[in-house]
Symmetry: C2
Subunit: 215 residues, 2 copies
Amino acid sequence: MKFHGYFRSSSAHRCRIAFNLKGLTPEFQSVHLRRNGGEQNTPEYRALNPQGLLPALETDGLVLTQSLAIIEWLDETYPESSLIPDDKDIRAKVRAFSQIIACDIHPLQNLRVLQYIKGDYGQDQAAADAWCQRWIGDGLAACEAMLQSFGNHGNFCFGETPGLADICLVPQVYSAHRFGVDMSAMPRLSKVFDACEAMPAFDDARPSVQPDAED
Amino acid sequence: MKFHGYFRSSSAHRCRIAFNLKGLTPEFQSVHLRRNGGEQNTPEYRALNPQGLLPALETDGLVLTQSLAIIEWLDETYPESSLIPDDKDIRAKVRAFSQIIACDIHPLQNLRVLQYIKGDYGQDQAAADAWCQRWIGDGLAACEAMLQSFGNHGNFCFGETPGLADICLVPQVYSAHRFGVDMSAMPRLSKVFDACEAMPAFDDARPSVQPDAED
C-alpha cells in the first residue's frame, strides 16, 4: 500500500490513525499542498485523484480516495480491531457523527476555500479565522450534544474502543485548537480527545511528528 | 417512520430518492428553512437534531441524521433493491464519489454558508453564485473523471441499477442547473442524470413536486 498525504491535512490525519489502529504501515508519499503551486495539482497526482485533494491510497492497482471511504474499506479489508460497530443503529450514529465533521466542518476550512475567501473576497486572516471558528464551533457543539444524548460513559465516542467517530474527532480538535475555538462547553469531546491522545495509535499520527512536518 | 425535510434541500432530496427506490413512504414533516427565522432552529427540531440541519428521520424511537448515514442505514434495514454494491472495492468507489458531492460540494453551497458570505463578507448575489459555480464545477468535474476512469458503460454511475452514487448525483445536478454550471464537458454525468430522471423513483422526488414546494 502507498499512502499519499500531508502532515497538516485532517483527512490524511484520519487515515494515519486508522492505519495505526489496524497495525498497517503503508509506504508514505508526501504531497505538499503549498509547494510548487501545490503538489496536489501535478498531472501525476491528478491522474491518481482527479479531485486534487488528499488523501489517496494505492493498493493492488486500486486507487481509493475520500478519507471516510478509505477507512470503511480498511475496516472491511482488515476486520481485526474493528472501527465501525456491528449494531446498525449505532453504526448510523457513528457515521452521522463522522459526517458532521467530514461534511459540515472540515471542507469549509480547507485550503482551497480559505484561499478563495482571501483572494476573491479580499478577506484578511482575522476574517478567515472567524469563518473557521464559526463552522468548527457550530459543528463540534452538535457533536457534543450528540454524544451527550447517546449517553455512553466510556472513554470513547460510542464505546469502549476507539473507532471511526474518534478518528474523525481528534484531527478536528487539533484544528479547533489551532483556530482558537472555545471548547470549554464540550466536556465529553474533551474527555474523548484526552483518552485518544493517550494512545500511541493517535499520538504517532499527529501532524508534528510526521516525516513531512514543518513548523 | 417520520421524515423531516424541505423541498429544496439536496440532502433531503437524496433521502426521498432512496425511500422511493426502496418503496418506503414515511410520514413527511416540512421544516421550512426560511420561514420564522428558520424552522430548523426551533427548540423542537434542535432537540431532534442539535446540528439544526436537514434531514432527520425518526423511526422506532431512533433519530437518524446526515443523509449518507440515513441511506446506508436504510439499505442495511431494507436490503431489497440494494443501493450499495456487494463488492468492497466498488463500494469504496461509490462512497468516495458520493462523498465528493456530500463533503466537498454541497456543504459549501448550504444556506447558512451563503448567508455568511452575503452577511459577514458583504458579497452580492453574483459573487455568491460564482462561489457556488466554482465548487460545483470542480467537484462534478472530478466525479466525471472518476466515472470515465471506472469505465462502466451502463446507464448508472457504477452499475446497471441506481444506487447511492446516483442518489447523490441527481440533486447536485439540479443545483448545478440552478447556479448555471456548464456541464457540457461532463457527458457521462449527463447521461446518468437523464437515465435517473426517466425513473419514477427519481422523478417523484424532485423538489418542485413536493408538498412544501414553492416557486
